[in-house]
């Protein structure tokens, strides 16, 4: 149990790698780049979801690589509508399932509703639709596959791009260090909606991902999961380093793995001692231009934020008082 942190699920606490499902729901043959961490993440998220799910997918890399008419990589019922509205589409699916079940038109086990978007589709253009869907208590799980820029359109910066990173619209130059803002904290924004389950995962920690996805789907009401998805094309990193970089993001404290259950924070993977962020930045071409002062600044920020997170995890009280609304009617 300790090995996988706190992300247990009563049904999965005896998991071993050979027991992970062999069913493929995001099938091979898609057009993702070599070493794509997002395709890997989607594949494992879909495995963890199981077959009884409906997916609404935002426009973005995963939609483009997987659904060129007349082919599809999706074994789930899957719908793509537009870029900024996938949470609203999921809301509509949830609505239809509710009423059709109530009217007896659908029987048996209801499928889980899942929405997927990239970091641009989530934290920039899709934030309003997501906020609405979370606030309305939509019974769904939203996955943000965060590769930290608009990779599909050619590596432009988003509000999820980390400080100092080079993108095609945040290029370093004589008067710029690259991205000059800190990454938007989407997890905090999700938690602020007082939803029952929020978590961070990366496919570099598969069991942690697997348990959290199951848990999110089993949670009634909205759940939000942020998936760090290494992008060799946009991060300018070697294609065989994608899993390694995901682990380094966790080991350096840049992307801690934790969950927020009804407002209570839990660190699910706790590295004994944080590695220097340099270990994470160095293999990535997008940070190549950074010099010592910027790297030191990033180190300080990461350290400070990690300590704040630890404090939240040790806090005796949750961030908010969970509201369990009484049933009406």
């Amino acid at each position: 149990m300790e090995k996988f942190g706190r992300a247990e699920s009563q049904k999965f606490d005896t998991y071993a790698s050979r027991m992970l499902p062999r069913d493929e729901f995001f099938t091979s043959g898609h057009r993702a780049c070599q070493g794509c961490g997002e395709a890997l993440a989607v594949r494992w998220v879909c495995k963890a979801m199981g077959k009884d799910a409906i997916i609404a997918n935002a426009t973005g890399c995963m939609e483009i690589v997987s659904s060129g008419m007349p082919q599809t990589s999706w074994m789930h019922p899957w719908i793509h509508v537009a870029f900024e509205n996938t949470a609203a589409v999921a809301s509509g699916i949830d609505t239809a399932l509710k009423i059709l079940e109530r009217k007896g038109k659908l029987t048996g086990k209801m499928p889980k509703v899942v929405a997927m978007g990239g970091d641009g589709g989530t934290s920039d253009i899709g934030l309003q639709a997501l906020s609405g869907a979370l606030e309305r208590g939509t019974n769904f799980t939203y996955f943000c596959f965060d590769n930290e820029a608009y990779m599909n359109t050619g590596i432009q910066r988003s509000s999820a791009t980390p400080y100092g990173a080079m993108t095609t619209t945040s290029p370093p130059g004589k008067k710029s260090i690259g991205q000059h803002t800190w990454k938007k904290d989407m997890v905090a924004i999700a938690v602020a909606h007082e939803i029952p389950y929020v978590a961070t995962v990366t496919p570099s920690y598969l069991f942690d991902l697997f348990f959290k996805v199951r848990k999110a789907l089993e949670t009634p009401g909205p759940a939000y999961i942020s998936v760090l998805s290494v992008c060799p094309t946009g991060w300018r990193s070697a294609t065989d380093l994608s899993v390694r970089l995901g682990r380094l993001a966790v080991e350096t404290g840049v992307f801690p793995l934790y969950e927020v259950v009804e407002g209570k924070y839990f660190l699910t993977v706790q590295p004994p001692k944080l590695r220097p962020v340099k270990d994470y930045l160095r293999p990535q071409g997008r940070f190549r231009h950074l010099r010592e002062p910027e790297i030191n600044f990033i180190q300080q920020q990461v350290q400070a934020r990690y300590e704040l997170l630890l404090q939240k995890c040790q806090a005796p009280f949750p961030e908010f008082a969970p509201v369990h609304l009484p049933e009406v009617g």
């Binding site: 659904s67 019922p77 719908i79 699916i93 609505t95 399932l97 499928p111 309305r136």
Partner: protein, 391 residues
């Protein structure tokens, strides 16, 4: 003929949606559509309509949620106006491209700037090419009737296209009119439950909304165009069936006192009823002026219009919207295009009337006919004219 009762038209529309047993409603408040969705939400709250009402955070999300629920197989309805319709713009094309039978009321209202909540057709004319079936109504009874028929048309497996019912904001939505309601039993017999053609089903997975490369995109557009054009016959079939059921017969292009008329006025929406008064007065005074009222805006009823207009000596098209900097205002442009291939065609003059809720009295139509007759005698001085504008 059943009993006629007085009712606000918005309330009548919401009762039509209730009688149609809509299952999923996603809407965002915008004047003057609000009374429709307010009443629907109270019907849902009281258990008088078994449906889910999603109070989305924008019209963009309203249409997106409608796409989601229609794709999952629920009978889906929404209503909007003006800026709200404009905000939906992106998703309107997707709803029709994915062939989802959503029904939407548009309480027609002017577009900003300057902000104006009153009635004209600026909102829907900006959306004329979205690939939906579009119908205009002119009074409360038509509003009630066409909302029920819209579900039957949209959900027909030969059609599978979302459908808009246009009703004028305030001057129609907010007035109390006498109208005849139908019983639930009658409507149930007319409108069977929705049978989805495809749905998002975990037992039988499908991929919806796949993208198309250049090798396929044009074919999908062609298929959409064929579907919309071919929806003409099924629409007429549903209207015919309704006529038999209720005695109220509807046609793609309606005529009013056109027999022997040399000058034909043409207008869509509730102002047509004002124009009828003007036509009566002009005919009483011995003028051969008739009125043409297109009801079906999409698919555009080319043949019906040609038949209706070809014999006239002058056609005067009244638009409730402008096509700024364009060749003609929207309705005039399409009517003139429809007539162009004819060997013998009447001249067409265009007028923009009643923009942003500007009141239009019967006298205005009489003045406009007089103006058109004098213009045509000396040769038109403008591409189109604006009525009653200062300065």
């Amino acid at each position: 003929m059943g009993q006629r009762i007085g009712m606000e038209v918005s309330i009548a529309v919401s009762h039509a949606v209730q009688l149609a047993r809509a299952e999923a409603i996603a809407a965002y408040p915008i004047t003057p559509q609000t009374h429709i969705v307010e009443h629907l939400s109270s019907l849902v709250a009281n258990g008088e309509l078994e449906a889910e009402f999603v109070t989305v955070e924008s019209e963009h999300s309203a249409m997106s949620a409608c796409v989601g629920s229609a794709a999952t197989g629920a009978r889906t309805y929404t209503a909007t106006s003006s800026q709200g319709l404009a905000l939906m713009h992106e998703i309107l094309f997707i709803a029709s491209g994915m062939r989802l039978p959503i029904v939407m009321s548009v309480a027609n209202r002017a577009l900003s700037a300057p902000l104006n909540i009153w009635n004209d057709h600026g909102d829907i004319m900006a959306e004329k090419d979205i690939g939906w079936i579009q119908v205009f109504v002119e009074n409360g009874q038509e509003s009630f009737d066409h909302h029920i028929m819209a579900f039957k048309i949209a959900e027909n497996h030969q059609v599978l296209l979302p459908t808009i019912i246009n009703l004028d904001g305030f001057i129609l939505t907010h007035v109390v009119e006498p109208l005849e309601m139908l019983s639930q039993e009658t409507v149930d017999k007319f409108l069977p439950p929705l049978v989805p053609y495809h749905r998002l089903d975990h037992k039988k997975p499908v991929t919806m909304g796949a993208f198309a490369l250049p090798e396929l995109y044009a074919e999908t557009k062609m298929a959409h165009q064929v579907a919309l054009t071919n929806s003409y016959q099924p629409i007429l079939e549903v209207w015919r069936e309704w006529g038999e059921l209720t005695g109220r017969h509807y046609h793609p292009v309606e005529h009013y006192r056109t027999e022997g008329a040399k000058v034909l006025l043409l207008i869509m929406g509730s102002l047509a009823e004002v124009a009828e008064v003007a036509v009566d007065e002009m005919q009483d005074a011995g003028q051969a002026v008739g009125l043409i009222k297109p009801r079906l805006w999409r698919p555009f009823p080319f043949q019906d219009l040609r038949q209706a207009l070809a014999g006239a000596e002058l056609v005067i098209v009244c638009d409730r919207a402008m096509s700024l900097g364009g060749a003609a205002n929207p309705v005039m442009a399409e009517v003139r295009s429809a007539l162009y291939p004819l060997a013998k065609k009447p001249p067409v003059l265009g007028y923009a009337v009643g923009l942003g809720g500007r009141d239009v009295q019967p006298q205005a139509f009489k003045d406009l006919v007089a103006h058109a007759l004098s213009e045509i005698k000396q040769g038109p001085s403008e591409e189109y004219y604006m009525v009653g504008v200062r300065g």
